[in-house]
Amino acid sequence: MNELKLKILDLLKEDARLSPSVIATMLGADESEVSQAIAEMESDHVIVKYATVINWSKVDDEKVTALIEVECSPERGRGFESIAERIYLYPEVKSVYLMSGAYDLLVEIEGKNLKEVASFVSNKLATIESVISTKTFFILKKYKQDGIIFEDFEDDHRLPVSP
C-alpha cells in the first residue's frame, strides 16, 4: 500500500471524523488525492466502517462479555472456514479469531447477562458438529481495547503558559 494511504489510515484510526481537507492539510497532500485514496480504500474494504469506540461500562445498560476458546476438527478442503462462518454470523458474536496453539478459534461473545452467554455457548456453539470442546472466560473489566485506554486520565497537567 502506498505511503499516503498508510498515513491517512493512521490519522483515521485515531479520529474517523477528520475531513479529507483537514487530512490533506495535515499531511501536506492534495485534497483530491486524499479523497480519492479514501474512496479507494472504502471500495476495497480496507476501510470497513467508521464506528465509535464505546466504553459500555459507563452506560447503564448491562452487558456481559466472554472469550471462548473453541477446539474443533477442521473440515476436509475447507479447514476452519465454514465452522468460523457458522459462528460469526450470530449477532451476539463480536469477534472470531483462528489461533495457533492449544485451541483453534477464539470467540468473543456479548450478552445481556451471564445466563444469556451461557445458553448461547451450550445451545449454539457446543452443539456444532465439529466443535470438540469449549472453555468460557468472562471478562471482568476492560482496561484497554484496540489501542484505546478506558481509564479516565486528567488530560493536561501542563502550566497554561511556559517559556
Binding site: 490519522l11 479520529d15 477528520l18 483537514v22 492539510t25 495535515m26 499531511l27 501536506g28 493536561d156 501542563r158 502550566l159 497554561p160 503558559v161 511556559s162 517559556p163
Partner: protein, 403 residues
C-alpha cells in the same frame, strides 16, 4: 580601602530587604512570560485554550517511565558521576554521531546537566567576564539575556526578520560586533519563531565567527523537531567544532520536560570548566532521569519519531489555518511554534494577546517578550490536540472579524 567601620555604617543604612540583593539580581527584569502566565492563571476560566505552552502535549512515553520506575525499585537512588552515568554519555555520543554527524569523546567532551537550561547557564558562566558582550539573535528564548547579565556580561541583540524567515543573516551579525564581542548564542530551530538554519545559511555565519574569534553556544534543544530536511548542527561546520558548545536535551523531542535532563558537548577545556561549576552547584543530574534518558536513546527512538510526525501534521494545520483567517504566517520549519504576524490589526502584540485572551479565550504569548523583532507577532504553540487547535483557530478568526 574601605575601613571595617565605614562598611558597617553603610550596611546599617540599608532600609529594605531589597537593598541586600546583588547588583545582578536587581538588574535582571522579571520574565515577560511569567506576567502573561499570571494573567491566564488569574482568569481561572476552564474554557480558555492555551497556545502558550512551551512543552510537548505528550506524556513521557511509558517505555522511558517504566525504566525509571524499575530503577527506583532496584534502589538506584544515589549520585552518579558528576559528568553523568558513563553509559548515558556513551549513548549520547553515539546518538549525536548518528543523528547529526557530531563526534564527541564521552569521557571528556560530554556533560550531562539538569535540563539544557543548566547547560546554558554553565556555558555562559564559564565564559563570560564583566563587560564581555554576548551576541543574541532575537526574537529568542527568554533566559539568554538575564543569565548573561547575571555574569556581568552585556547581551547585544541581533534582530532577525520575518522577511528572512527569521534566519540569522551574516550582515546583521557583523553590524552588531564590537571589540568586546566574545560569545554568540544560537537557538535553531528557534523558540519562538520556528526558524531553522540550513548548511548554506550557516556558512557565512561560520565565516563571521572565525573572523571575529567568537565562541558559540548552540542551543539545539529542538534539533529533532526539524520538518524540512535534517537538522544541521552549527558544530558540524568546518572549523566550528572547537569553537562551539552544543547544548541539547530530552525535554522537547522525547517529551521529558519534568525530568530536567540535558547535556552539553564541546572542547574538553570548555566542558571541563563547566564540569567544575556543575560539581560545585548541583553535583550531578538526577539518576532516575538519566536512566529514563538512556532507555529513550537505546529503545525509544520510534516513540520520538512518532511524536515528531504528529507535530509536523499539526504544524501544517495551524500554519494553513492562520493564513486562511488572514494572518501572515511565515513557514516555521522547526520546533513546535507558529509565529504569525498580527501587524495587520494595528494592535501591539501585548494588546492583541490580552484582548485575545479576554474576548476570544485563547492564550498566545505576545512576541515582544522574546526581544527585538518580536513586536507585531504572537507565539502559538501547536503542541496541543487537533480539536483544540481547530477550535482556537476558529475563535481567533471570529476575534479578527470583530476587530
Amino acid at each position: 580601602m574601605i575601613k571595617d567601620e565605614e562598611l558597617t555604617k553603610t550596611r546599617t543604612k540599608r532600609n529594605g530587604m531589597k537593598d541586600y540583593l546583588s547588583a545582578g539580581a536587581r538588574a535582571i527584569p522579571p520574565s515577560g512570560i511569567r506576567r502573561f502566565f499570571d494573567l491566564v492563571s488569574a482568569s481561572k476560566d476552564g474554557s480558555i485554550i492555551s497556545l502558550g505552552v512551551g512543552e510537548p502535549d505528550f506524556v513521557t512515553p511509558w517505555r522511558y517511565r517504566d525504566a525509571a520506575v524499575y530503577s527506583l525499585e532496584k534502589g538506584k537512588t544515589q549520585y552518579t558521576s558528576n559528568a553523568g552515568m558513563p553509559e548515558l554519555r556513551e549513548a549520547i555520543g553515539e546518538y549525536l554521531h548518528h543523528q547529526f554527524r557530531l563526534d564527541y569523546d564521552p569521557a571528556s567532551e560530554i556533560l550531562v546537566t539538569v535540563g539544557s537550561s543548566e547547560a546554558i547557564d554553565l556555558a555562559i558562566r564559564a565564559l563570560i567576564e564583566p563587560g564581555d558582550e554576548m551576541l543574541v539573535p532575537e526574537p529568542c528564548y527568554i533566559s539568554y539575556n538575564p543569565i548573561t547579565t547575571l555574569g556581568g556580561g552585556v547581551p547585544v541583540g541581533v534582530e532577525t526578520y520575518a522577511e528572512d524567515g527569521f534566519k540569522l543573516k551574516a550582515e546583521n551579525l557583523k553590524a552588531a560586533i564590537t571589540p568586546r564581542s566574545k560569545l554568540l548564542i544560537l537557538c535553531y530551530p528557534s523558540n519562538p519563531t520556528g526558524a531553522i538554519m540550513t548548511y548554506e545559511d550557516w556558512l557565512p555565519i561560520a565565516k563571521v565567527v572565525e573572523e571575529h574569534d567568537l565562541i558559540v553556544i548552540s542551543d539545539e534543544i529542538y534539533a529533532e523537531l526539524t520538518y524540512s530536511g535534517k537538522h544541521v548542527s552549527f558544530a558540524s561546520l568546518p572549523g566550528m567544532r572547537d569553537r562551539t558548545i552544543v547544548v541539547n536535551g530530552f525535554s522537547k523531542a522525547f517529551a521529558m520536560t519534568g525530568w530536567r535532563l540535558g547535556y552539553a558537548c564541546g572542547h574538553p577545556d570548555l566542558i571541563g570548566a563547566m564540569l567544575k561549576i556543575h560539581q560545585y552547584t548541583v553535583m550531578c543530574a538526577p539518576i532516575m532521569s538519566q536512566v529514563a534518558a538512556l532507555e529513550a536513546l537505546k529503545n525509544g527512538m520510534e516513540d520520538m519519531y512518532r511524536m515528531v510526525e504528529s507535530y509536523n501534521q499539526r504544524r501544517r494545520l495551524v500554519v494553513s489555518g492562520f493564513r486562511e483567517i488572514g494572518l501572515d504566517c511565515h513557514e516555521p520549519h522547526g520546533a513546535f511554534y507558529a509565529f504569525p504576524s498580527i501587524r495587520s490589526t494595528g494592535l501591539s502584540a501585548n494588546e492583541f494577546a490580552e484582548r485575545l485572551l479576554k474576548e476570544a479565550k485563547v492564550a498566545a504569548v505576545p512576541g515582544h517578550v522574546f526581544g527585538k523583532g518580536g513586536e507585531g507577532f504572537i507565539r502559538c504553540s501547536y503542541a496541543t490536540s487537533v480539536a483544540q487547535l481547530t477550535e482556537a483557530l476558529e475563535r481567533i478568526g471570529d476575534f479578527l472579524n470583530k476587530l
